[in-house]
Symmetry: C2
């Protein structure tokens, strides 16, 4: 077992949030070569004693002050030329966070972290653009086949807020009546007795997710043959 090649392993976080009616992603600005000054996904190298998830948690905390976040491992990127320093295999983690849990004050090393609209990304280091695109597809898929959206909203929310979240992620308008019918039919939200009153209009009823636990919607992913 001694004569085998070994490699650096990185993890990268593709952290999505919704803010200012935009689907945003967290980027840091690199403070060292290569790509110094260029934006990149937060992440870092795996350490010997660490689990993969712990690495990404540690880096998200260090670089963006984010804790307790939903993470989903995606498939690795490992092409030879992807890091000019040498061979690095990176494992992306897709993550979602509610914007009201946010308080991204970059800590310590002060690599300026910031949120960027996914449709207007700056130039990116490494193959991070590709990684982000992959994650975005994944996010869109997940949001339609799981109850993942609960990660993006606070405990209580109006159906309009939820609809907007879906619209922003999928980047398309949805029909209000059909959206509500569908949600209730799927049984992923339930109404509360509380109302949100603000502005000169009828107060909106507040809803919660029945289940704040990642779960599959009934197997709707089916090209059924019978």
């Amino acid at each position: 077992m001694g004569e085998k090649d070994t490699f650096l392993i990185a993890v990268d976080g593709v952290v999505f949030t919704i803010a200012h009616h935009e689907l945003q992603i967290l980027l840091i600005q690199r403070d060292a070569e290569p790509f110094k000054g260029i934006h990149a996904l937060p992440g870092g190298f795996l350490r010997k004693e660490e689990e993969l998830e712990d690495t990404i948690k540690r880096k998200l905390y260090e670089e963006a002050n984010i804790k307790d976040i939903f993470l989903k491992k995606l498939h690795p990127f490992g092409k030879k030329g992807r890091d000019p320093r040498g061979r690095v295999i990176t494992i992306p983690y897709m993550a979602l966070i509610s914007s009201d849990k946010l308080e991204v004050k970059p800590r310590a090393k002060a690599t300026a972290a910031g949120w960027f609209c996914v449709y207007h990304l700056p130039e990116l280091a490494f193959d991070h653009k590709e990684i982000i695109e992959d994650s975005l597809h994944h996010l869109r898929f997940e949001v339609q086949s799981t109850n993942l959206a609960y990660q993006l909203l606070s405990d209580k929310f109006t159906l309009t807020e939820l609809q907007q979240a879906y619209e922003i992620i999928l980047n398309q308008k949805l029909d209000k009546r059909n959206f509500r019918k569908r949600l209730l039919a799927l049984g992923i939200v339930k109404s509360t007795t509380h109302y949100k009153r603000e502005g000169a209009h009828r107060p909106a009823q507040l809803y919660t997710f029945k289940d704040r636990q990642y779960s599959m919607l009934k197997e709707k992913i089916n090209i059924s043959f019978s």
Copy 2:
């Protein structure tokens, strides 16, 4: 960049085929510790100058004489205790091969390779059982949302053969008439002017895939809200 930890990276092939009316998977028998004599997925360690895909291709060729195979990268497994020799991150590749392209005569190192029904697997080394389960889910999903099945059949085939392939993968009976309607509606196969005659019954028309190129079926993966 010098003081970072480095790791062994393995790739494992989860190679499916259909034979004898079973969904089978390729396993080798380990010829060294750990897990000597126990069955495991074919695979090996990434080398410095190699792309990930080249490693898995090389190992599949060495260990099972398989070439030119469809490969899909899945998410990595990297828990600390998964390999008793030390930390290894493994990247599984799901693969599919038509059983008539097969001629698995284990080469050189003569690690006895063989095909096993996925529902009757022997004891497996490492976390390979978990990896196989993940791949199987993936396979079932892909087969319903892409034209991937073309990998499993020879150039010309009868619709009954194709249906059996689906039934075996999904592990459920399908309705003949609905299956055919659906396939033709999706436009993934087309008829040829040839027939397969065998046995004392009406000859079956032979079909081919319109497109022997991995492609998505029309985005049927949709919990639609509008």
